[in-house]
């Protein structure tokens, strides 16, 4: 050993006073590039938890986890993405697919911890310093992984549509339907919002696969009226579709219609293969509308003998007598109804309960009774002169047209109201050759009618007068006409925070003369067929039922559903009521067949 070797440890110490080659906090000197793909940022208020990020992640680095503050929101799954940085490869596909553009990436890339289990977090929920970072990766404006616009539906031109009652919507071709189906991100938020909880993502997937029989099977699990709903559903599913946040929602209704249109009615039995046994129980249903016939379908599948009592000569209720054929043709409605009837449902047509057969006898002769008679009585305006013979009800006009009768409306018509019945009465009147003015108390934006119907009625030449309050019906100069006095309204904010209310301006009154006035301001239930004592037992308030779980009433064997038993009063809600009541009736008839676990699941 030489002297240098002996002294070398002491020379090393001089290095301790030199500038180090490594840095203590590298990010201070080397920040991420401005568009670097670093740790994720999520604007949780904008995110709806659709899970597209989770689906597209090729490394399974994203889990959707429940976050309490977002539970129970309409159109929100209540879930938010949780990132695992042991798996993330920073590709940014999750940002590119995000339907709400809530997901971004910061340019932060250093996260120092001695605990390896900490490198995952729920962006926007777990507090991290980069959450408000302005830099990092953003999806370029206008860039979408899926087309933001839906495939346009071909429709009759208004000039042509008003010439007949031919269906206005033409339907998708196979190519169009597949293109539209390809836009679906299969998040399933629509499933939770649909009253019937239809399996929308899977039946849309069946279009991608070209397997329409499977699509039909999926639809019938929760809805035996797919041909009908494929045309006139209020489609709340589309209102929450996350694809609609940055673009147009998936045309779910039109895709449903497409599937049904690909399958012929004669093949339903083979495809659906519904088994109907004989349980030995008998169930009576009052009303062959969507609620009653939906219940009939699911009750037959449970093996119960079903008899439906219907006052009209055909089944369908308001779908047949209240929805004109340019929106829902009889043949399409019959496709749904005929299949239900084919399962052995006994429909007693032209049979009014309370007149042709008593309510009490149904209670005696059947093991359970389901009431679904809807809202069949037109509401009254209660204004002076309303009983004028030239004042017609919207429901009556629609029923006349459905039955092939001439409602005798004349050539100049005023329609009062802003709901779908009003729009249909107006559009039917246009088809019968009348000039139509719609008077509505509030603004077009406040109308309860489907926006599409409002636009189509305007396209067909109906004139909508907003903020017009009818105050009196007067005799015209001749008996064939009628005059209406109406006043302009100012919208005044509700001090309690409700929607603005129309206030009549008495200095701005108008009088107009028409061949008839069609009143379509709403409908109420007719419960005269239920004896008073039973009405008291059924706990009816404001003409409506408030059913309990499984649509039951305080009377043990009586169940209710449909427009007079739910707040939305649309076909899809009635269909779900019928399905749910069938479950309830089955439980009532077979109490021992349901274990506690099954009751929780079903």
């Amino acid at each position: 050993m030489n002297l240098k070797d002996l002294l070398s440890p002491f020379f090393v110490w001089q290095r301790a006073f030199e500038k180090p080659y490594t840095t203590i906090r590298p990010t201070l000197d080397r920040p991420g590039a401005p568009a670097y793909r670093g740790f994720h940022i999520n604007i949780t208020e904008t995110c709806v938890g659709c899970g597209s990020c989770h689906e597209i992640c090729q490394n399974h680095a994203i889990d959707m986890v429940a976050v309490e503050e977002f539970q129970g929101r309409q159109g929100d799954s209540g879930l938010r993405p949780r990132f695992d940085y042991g798996r993330c490869c920073w590709c940014g596909l999750c940002v590119d697919i995000c339907t709400a553009a809530s997901l971004r990436m910061s340019n932060e890339y250093a996260w120092i911890s001695t605990d390896p289990t900490t490198f995952h977090f729920t962006a926007g929920v777990d507090d991290k310093p980069w959450q408000n970072n302005e830099l990092g990766y953003r999806r370029a404006e206008g860039y979408h992984l899926y087309p933001p616009k839906r495939i346009e539906m071909e429709m009759l031109e208004p000039e042509e549509s008003v010439q007949s009652f031919k269906e206005v919507v033409k339907g998708y071709s196979v190519e169009q339907a597949k293109k539209e189906a390809d836009r679906c991100v299969e998040c399933g938020i629509c499933v939770a919002t649909c009253p019937a909880h239809m399996d929308v993502p899977d039946y849309i997937h069946s279009i991608r696969d070209g397997d329409y029989e499977k699509g039909l099977q999926l639809m019938y699990r929760t809805n035996p009226f797919p041909a009908t709903c494929g045309r006139i559903c209020t489609r709340r599913c589309e209102s929450v579709c996350p694809v609609g946040i940055l673009g147009e929602p998936i045309a779910i209704r039109w895709l449903k219609r497409f599937i049904v249109d690909q399958v012929e009615a004669k093949d339903y039995q083979r495809i659906l293969n519904d088994q109907t046994g004989n349980s030995g129980h008998k169930v009576a249903i009052i009303g062959a509308g969507p609620g009653g016939m939906s219940a009939a379908y699911y009750l037959r599948k449970q093996g119960h003998a079903v008899t439906v009592f219907e006052a009209q000569s055909k089944a369908g209720g308001m779908l047949r007598y209240g929805v004109p054929s340019y929106r829902l043709a009889d043949a399409d409605l019959d496709k749904d109804i005929d299949y239900i009837v084919s399962l052995g449902v006994d429909v007693k047509y032209n049979t009014s309960v309370g007149k042709d057969i008593s309510f009490e006898s149904l209670l005696q002769d059947y093991d359970a009774v389901f009431l679904s008679t809807g809202l069949s009585v037109p509401s009254s305006m209660r204004i002076q002169g309303e009983d004028h013979p030239r004042v017609l009800s919207g429901l009556q006009v629609l029923a006349d047209v459905a039955n092939g009768r001439d409602p005798g409306i004349g050539k100049k018509v005023a329609v009062i109201g802003g709901g779908n019945v009003a729009m249909d009465a107006a559009r039917v009147s246009r088809r019968l050759g009348a000039d139509v003015t719609i008077l509505y108390r509030r603004r077009i934006a406040d109308m309860p009618a489907d926006l599409e119907e409002i636009h189509e009625s305007q396209g067909e030449g109906c004139l909508i007068v907003e903020q017009a309050i009818p105050v009196e019906i007067q005799n015209a100069d001749n008996a064939e006409q009628v005059s209406i006095k109406w006043g302009e309204a100012e919208m005044v904010n509700d001090p309690k925070g409700g929607r603005p209310r129309p206030v009549l301006q008495e200095d701005r009154m108008h009088v107009e003369t028409y061949d008839c006035i069609i009143s379509a301001i709403g409908q109420a239930s007719n419960l005269d067929y239920i004896p008073k004592d039973f009405q008291d037992q059924l706990a009816i308030e404001w003409g409506k039922f408030t059913p309990g779980e499984y649509q039951h009433t305080p009377m043990a064997k009586v169940f209710v559903g449909g427009d007079f038993a739910n707040p939305t009063a649309d076909a899809i809600s009635a269909i779900e009521d019928g399905h749910h009541a069938a479950r309830g009736i089955n439980r009532f008839l077979n109490p021992d067949a349901y274990t506690e676990t099954e009751q929780q699941v079903n």
């Binding site: 509401s379 002076q384 009062i416 009003a422 509505y440 209310r501 009549l504 709403g522 008073k532 404001w542």
Partner: protein, 148 residues
């Protein structure tokens, strides 16, 4: 009725009469549902009475200067019968018309007396009745005119 107390006693009696009217109608109502609604109306009138009793006792002040929205719904509705078969729509019309009549009574009385505390009280009572009318008119607007 020349004193404030006399006017308040009259108004309190009117509210009690209204409560009795709805309670009586409830006993004759055909269905349990309508009976409950009418009893709710009776309770509403009793709450009006309680408020006026509080005014008389000096625990609550009337607010004649307060602006109350007039939806003018009832002004163009026909008279309806308060029979045992009364519907919810007609029950609301009856209630609105009663409140409007009371509002007009106090307004007319106020117009006939000179500026005084009595006039203030009458105007305050008119505003109370206008508020009651607005309550029923709002209910009519929400429930009966829902689609219109």
């Amino acid at each position: 009725m020349n004193t404030v107390d006399e006017i308040l006693d009259y108004a309190i009696d009117q509210e009690q009469q209204a409560a009795d009217f709805y309670a009586d109608l409830a006993t004759r109502a055909e269905t349990a549902g309508m009976k409950k609604i009418l009893l709710d109306f009776a309770d509403e009138e009793k709450s009006h009475k309680e408020r006026l009793l509080a005014v008389k006792a000096g625990d609550h002040e009337l607010t004649p200067e307060q602006e109350v929205l007039d939806l003018k719904i009832v002004d163009y509705l026909v008279e309806v019968d308060a029979s045992e078969k009364i519907s919810y729509q007609d029950a609301l019309i009856v209630a609105m018309k009663r409140e409007r009549a009371a509002f007009r009574l106090y307004s007319d009385m106020a117009a006939k007396v000179p500026e005084s505390h009595l006039k203030e009280v009458l105007l305050g009572l008119a505003k109370e009745e206008a508020k009651h009318k607005l309550f029923f008119e709002s209910e009519y607007d929400e429930r009966i005119m829902k689609d219109n």
